[in-house]
Amino acid sequence: MEEKTLLHRQIHPIFVVEDKISVQAFENCKYQISSSSFAPSKKDNDQLSLYNGDKFSAKESYSHYTKEFQSFGVLSLEVAEVQSISDLKVQEDNYPYDGHCFIDFSNVPSGKQKSKRAVQLRDIAVKRNWTFKP
């Protein structure tokens, strides 16, 4: 895994809404993605799961994930982008499958700060645009 390695996050369809920004219906539509897509839940032990881009392309990660779960599409972040945000670290554990990695939120001091970091991650990923959408 290197600084430019892309990390792929699957986005659940319910975390995506269209955001109409023009009075001309749907001509200038963008999507609003929930920051929850980039926040670990309490059950995740502060770990946000991602696919290692060295082992999965965005499309491959989508195919792997959707064997079991729903995904609207894939948004991605570079390792360097994640690690430029304070208190976040990328870890590669290859569990429960080879190519699994996660962003470790355990050093983020509070719930408020976790929400902020989740928004930052989302905004970086959204700026890149979808790396895969069926």
Partner: protein
């Protein structure tokens, strides 16, 4: 709880002469209670057309209590007991009992109309199935005067006996459907230009509708964005079967292309989530709680403010998000209590953030939310 008599039907017949009620006749009143609730809901929605659903706790709080059986055949006096709904904004519950009073009047009118041979309104057909149970246990010499005035001791024409009940049930057999005005959220997957019709896809089924000129632009617009999940809100008249399922959309009054952030639409979609919706985790959202939140949002969130995107949380609660350039607002709402956590921060300025609690169970909480949205966005 007031001890005001809600209804005092007079039961005539040899079984009632000792001013007592056999247990099986009391079962009929159980069905009557259910019918009052159903009619009250219909009346509420007719009088509050902005609302799609009755308020939280509307029907759960209502039940009939038998408090006395007066002499002179059996005059069964019932009070309407209403439990106080403590966790909703007060004004919502204060008028609820009026709807049940109106429901009772409607019911009495319905029975009277059968006695007088009057024509049944289309909208009343939906109430007839309840007579499968109401009056079921009456025998030949028995009747119930539902409009009896126990104060003036005056009889009414709202008398249910075996003959009238059979008349009602025969009418039910003949009328297998009824019409009702409804609102539907719909996708448009198909247009048939040759036959000038279009298909709508709704939670209640798929139906073919006629394309009228006045709805054409909206229908075509939404059709071309079907893959993006574009919705319309249809106001229409539909035909329902007695199973309360839509059989046909008769006529469309209006169509509105919906903002994808439309709160009622979003609520409708969030309610489709089942348990384990996210990677085997995730709790389905409680329908009553979410719809109650939706009613309050519609009532108190200022219409000129930017709509939030509403997302579910894995614990069964919701999160509202607003974004304007680098400014972000997140409001996490616990649906059971309507207590919320408000968080604002500017992504471009590390030190520009605010965090506070809000109580969306009170009007002041909504006023504060409106003020914060206006201020920070």
């Amino acid at each position: 709880m007031e001890n005001k008599i809600f209804i005092a039907p007079k039961l005539n017949g040899s079984r009632f002469e000792d001013h007592s009620l056999p247990l099986n006749v009391l079962e009929d009143f159980n069905a009557l209670q259910s019918l009052f609730i159903e009619i009250a809901k219909v009346i509420y929605l007719e009088e509050n057309r902005r609302r799609k659903r009755v308020p939280k706790g509307f029907s759960e709080g209502f039940y009939l209590k038998l408090v006395e059986i007066e002499e002179g055949s059996a005059i069964a006096k019932f009070v309407a007991a209403a439990s106080i709904v403590a966790n909703s904004i007060q004004f919502e519950s204060s008028n609820d009992l009026n709807y049940f009073e109106k429901a009772k009047e409607k019911f009495v009118q319905l029975v009277e109309s059968f006695n007088c041979g009057e024509e049944l309104g289309q909208e009343d057909v939906q109430f007839l199935p309840y007579f499968n149970k109401i009056g079921k246990n009456l025998v030949d010499d028995e009747s119930i005067d539902f409009g009896y005035d126990h104060k003036s001791k005056t009889s009414s024409k709202a008398i249910l006996n075996k003959e009238i009940r059979n008349k009602i049930l025969n009418t039910l057999d003949q009328k297998s459907e009824y019409q009702k005005d409804i609102e539907l959220f719909a996708l448009v997957p198909e247009i048939d230009q040759k036959n000038n019709t279009f298909q709508i896809e709704t939670d209640l089924g798929n139906f073919k509708c006629k394309i009228e000129e006045y709805i054409k632009p909206a229908v075509f617009s939404v059709f071309s964005n079907y893959q993006k999940g574009a919705y319309i809100l249809l106001n229409c008249k539909a035909v329902f079967g007695l199973d309360n399922k839509i059989k046909e959309v008769l006529h469309i009054d209006s169509v509105e292309v919906l903002n994808p952030l439309d709160v009622q639409l979003r609520i409708s979609n969030l309610l489709k989530l089942k348990d384990k919706w996210f990677e085997g985790q995730g709790k389905a959202i409680n329908k009553n709680n979410l719809e109650h939140f939706g009613s309050l949002f519609k009532e108190y969130y200022k219409p000129n403010l930017t709509l939030p995107a509403i997302f579910p949380k894995i614990d069964g609660n919701i999160q509202l998000e607003w974004k304007n350039e680098s400014k972000n607002i997140i409001v996490e709402v616990e649906l059971e209590t309507l207590l919320a956590e408000f968080l604002y921060f500017d992504g471009a300025n590390e030190n520009d953030d605010t965090e506070m609690g809000l109580n969306l169970n009170i009007i002041k909480g909504w006023e504060e939310l409106n003020r914060l949205i206006e201020f920070y966005l």
